[in-house]
């Protein structure tokens, strides 16, 4: 189900424009509020839904298999690390779901612009930018070393 913006809630902050991986969240030239310029190209990743501080972006099914009249609303609580969904069916039934949204505090991941620009000779390296430091390998859990029967550690 692609996303759409409730313009009465949107305050035109532009967070959805920045985060949309498909670059289809744009700013309306007349009302200066965000809107989905091409719902057909929406990946339905819901990044904009989760990023919107005003809870102004909702999702809506295509009319051929999800007739209008239902509601799918989202509330993101970044301090609690939770996102909640409330589904209201056309016949009035409601369902609610709550999920953890991420495992690290909101805003704790550094954007690429916060890192130093890689040197030109980094192009020849097999590592991606800022690896291995950015991978934080030392913080990952590790398995115990494998030992063959009667053998020594490799």
């Amino acid at each position: 189900m692609p996303t759409y913006t409730d313009m009465t809630r949107c305050d035109g902050c532009g967070e959805c424009v920045d985060i949309c991986p498909s670059d289809i969240m744009h700013i309306d030239p007349v009302y200066r509020r965000s809107y989905n310029i091409e719902p057909n190209f929406c990946w339905e990743c819901y990044s904009c839904v989760k990023a919107c501080p005003q809870h102004a972006i909702d999702v809506r099914g295509y009319a051929d298999f999800a007739p209008l009249g239902h509601k799918v609303r989202v509330l993101r609580e970044e301090a609690k690390g939770i996102i909640s969904w409330k589904i209201r069916f056309r016949d009035g039934r409601e369902k609610a779901f709550t999920f953890p949204i991420r495992t690290t505090p909101w805003g704790s991941i550094r954007p690429p612009s916060d890192y130093e620009a890689p040197a030109a000779n980094s192009l020849g390296s097999q590592l991606l930018a800022h690896e291995p430091d950015a991978l934080k390998v030392e913080t990952l859990p590790t398995l115990p070393a494998f030992r063959e029967e009667g053998g020594a550690l490799p």
């Binding site: 009465t8 532009g14 424009v17 920045d18 509330l75 709550t98 953890p100 505090p105």
Partner: protein
Amino acid sequence: MFTSNPFFVLTDFLPVFAMQAYIILMLVAVVAGTLLDTTHKGSALFFARRREEAKAAAQRQLSGLETASLAARTLAEAAVSGEFCKWKRRVSHLLMMYGFLLYVMTTIVMVFVYPADAQTPIILPLLWDLGALMILAGALWFFFFLRVNVVHDGDSPFHVGRADLFVGSLIGSTAFALIWHAVQTVANPAVGLLFFSLYLFFTTLLFVSVFWSKFAHMFYKPVVAFQRRVEEADGSSDLPAPSRDSMR
């Protein structure tokens, strides 16, 4: 220079009645523009229908005290522009909002109470200038550095569209108001008349363009915000209730 009633010099060639009639005409233009705007877009009808639906879906009736409390909280939020999530836009909006209130209220008092009085209390023209300066500071900051299409959508800071009609006419009105006030005592009357004409043009544009601009937001935004609070309180909101759990 900034302690004199700026409208006093107009009495040389304009009757007081004309100035007062102009202000009344502008008030009528704002009311008519707002009504046309909400009717044309269907937003009033949409809002009324949504309100009826919310009433039908309400899980409990709010008492008068609860409704009054929600209204007070809505006003408190509007007074500090609490609806904005970014502090820069919030500060810019506060400068424009309180500047506009000062600018309009002092204009009305000076034109209706002291139009031909050279002894206008000094505080009035000072507040008029302060209001205009506050609007100018907030509006220029917003126009060049905070507009969402400039910051997030890649438009040039000099890109102008219909969405800029309100802020553009506000900048024009206040900028030429200040210049006109400044040149009243230091320049010849022709220069004063030129800047007065520009001030009058942009001020008229600001108030007669309500149908095409976002001027009316100052009336319906608080109403919609109040309705949203009511829906959250009586259980008719489509938004999920805040979770009692924490994943952290």
